[in-house]
């Protein structure tokens, strides 16, 4: 059976199509201000790029913050459940997931069937999220995609002590003024995110193996800082950004 998953996040909208346990295609676009339109668009594009017909898709599951704006979905589940299902499909041995998205981060414990055992989310604050990195990229005038590669060159990460995104930004600005190297500042930013996330993760107690998902998982600097902070080996989902959409598509198959 062919099914689809649509994940409307705060920054990007993702779609995935699966068929009988196989991934057929994925697509990522910016959400913009209209979540409903983004859902329709990302779905149409994933179908078009993979030369698939809408009528061949039997079920659609929506997830993410905009899950209720996807009117054509048969059902919606939270991204917590979908990330669990997506990671389970990629590696059934995974017992913990750290999902770092645009406006929040979560730690999820899963059982051997890929079902959620427990979860914890960041509180109402942008620190430790993708948005935090975006703000920093702007302050540093560096493309966000270069963050990972630059930071792993750092020998002496700067210290970012502020927990608040706005204060951390002014801290970064003063580090720039002091002439600290970009790569050190970026490495410091990654360590600050890792510290923030590891204290959240500690609340539910991670079990290995751990997988990181969400858009921020594409940043090798954050992943390394996180692995170091947690003292664990961390696997990165090869489909980090679309992991939730893939999970949603798999859940659609069991409807």
């Amino acid at each position: 059976m062919r099914t689809a998953g649509i994940d409307i996040g705060s920054i990007t909208a993702k779609a995935a199509i699966v068929e009988d346990g196989k991934l057929l295609g994925t697509k990522v676009i910016f959400t913009g201000y209209n979540a409903e339109a983004a859902g329709i668009k990302v779905y149409e594009e994933v179908l078009k790029e993979n030369s698939l017909d809408k009528s061949s898709v039997k079920k659609v599951v929506a997830t993410g913050y905009g899950r209720n704006s996807v009117k054509f979905a048969d059902k919606s589940f939270t991204e917590i459940m979908c990330h669990a299902a997506g990671s389970h499909f990629l590696n059934p041995h995974i017992r913990s997931i750290i999902d770092i998205g645009g406006q929040d981060s979560k730690a999820i414990l899963v059982d051997e069937k890929g079902k959620v055992k427990n979860f914890v989310m960041n509180d109402k604050c942008a620190a430790g999220t993708g948005r935090f990195l975006e703000v920093m990229a702007r302050a540093l005038e560096v493309d966000l995609d270069e963050f990972g590669a630059l930071s792993i060159k750092s020998k002496k990460p700067s210290k970012i002590s502020s927990l608040c995104t706005v204060f951390a930004e002014s801290e970064v600005v003063s580090l720039i003024a002091r002439g600290e190297k970009r790569q050190d500042i970026i490495a410091g930013i990654h360590e600050s995110i890792a510290a923030r996330i590891s204290s959240m993760v500690g609340r539910i107690g991670m079990k290995e193996p751990v997988m990181v998902t969400g858009g921020v998982a594409r940043n090798i600097g954050v992943v390394r800082a996180l692995g170091k902070k947690l003292g664990m080996k961390i696997e990165v989902s090869p489909y980090a950004q679309v992991n939730g959409a893939i999970g949603a598509a798999f859940l659609a198959a069991s409807l």
Binding site: I80, K115, F119
Partner: protein, 422 residues
Amino acid sequence: MLKTIAIFLAGKFKKFTMRFKKSKTMKDYMMVYYSEAKSARLTRRKVAWITSGGPVEPLIAMNVIPIYPENHGAMIGASKMGGGLCELAETMGYSADLCSYARSDIACATVNGGPIGGLPKPDMLVCCNNICGTVLKWYEVQARYFNVPLFILDTPFCHTEYTKEAAKYVRAQFDEYIVFLEKACKKKFDYERLKKVGHLSHQGQLLWQAVLDTATNKPAPMSAFDAFYHLALIVTLRGTQDVIDYYTQLLALMKNRIARGIGAVPNEKYRLLWDNIPIWHRTRWLSEKFASHNACLVADTYTTAWCGALKYIDETKFLDSMAEAHARIYLNIGIDEMAKMVLEMIDKYDVDGFVLHSNRSCKPYSFGQLDIQSIVEKERGIPCLMLEADMTDERSFSESQISTRIDAFMEIIKERKAVSKK
């Protein structure tokens, strides 16, 4: 003025008042209560502002009208006026980290704002620190502002036990409290009247407990959201006949609903326990959100606080036992003791999950919640959910985040229940 109160009460709780039709409604009682307090100058009665955990019975015995700024705070929250008043308090120089009840009350007093145009002016203030430390400074601020006498009842923290020294210390303050009242009211204290008031107070608390107990039934005839509403009388008028009449009626109504199989949530499938003060500005939204998952918050640790110390009350030694009952309330005991009470409630109400409101305003209530959550997870293995918000300040609420958390929490509960049924 009266009209404002009536409109407020009718509007805020229309859903509930319609659901529980009875001869004399909460609206009627509260209207009479606030209008009597507002016209106290004319009737030559005294008005005392008192903290929610304070001993109100001596005031009733002295014919003083007790007014609760915290109850007012809840009304401010329910009418979504907390954010504005908190902002005003912040403009006055109070920190945004200060309790939102304190901020709204302090701000409201200066502008006679809020849903009922401000509280009637106090002739005295009675502050008991069994609920928190903030009330000390809050009441000192108000005592200076209104230039009225302040009585402080200091209850030592009771980690596990109520020591002899603590008993002596608290009991002695009750005598001082009576002297304070005699001076403020310029008349002798009536110990005979206190006996009667004490009896009514005890009966009222027993009735309130009986009302809450009806939610052990499946389906629960009332939810915690109903309890948040019906709570007002046991807080404000404890020790009067009105409380007895109201809860006797309410109890009969709940029993009738049980007999007819009517639940607060039409299709109750999941039963939950709530911890901490309600998110007053979002009770309707939360109630509908949980109901959409066929989940009913059948009990809470908050409304039980007004009958939680029943086991310490002895009518024959009212003043002594009252001292102990006030010192050993839920917020003045150690984490292990609190967790024990939570576990008892989980068993009593047979709940499937535990929802904890991490309340930015209420430090003593929120501090230690993570430990209580861990104890519950370990001892009972039920899913727990922590929601970060604020009881009155609607600026500390993120709807989409909370919505996702509740949905994910309910997904876990549904999954577990489905598995256990197989």
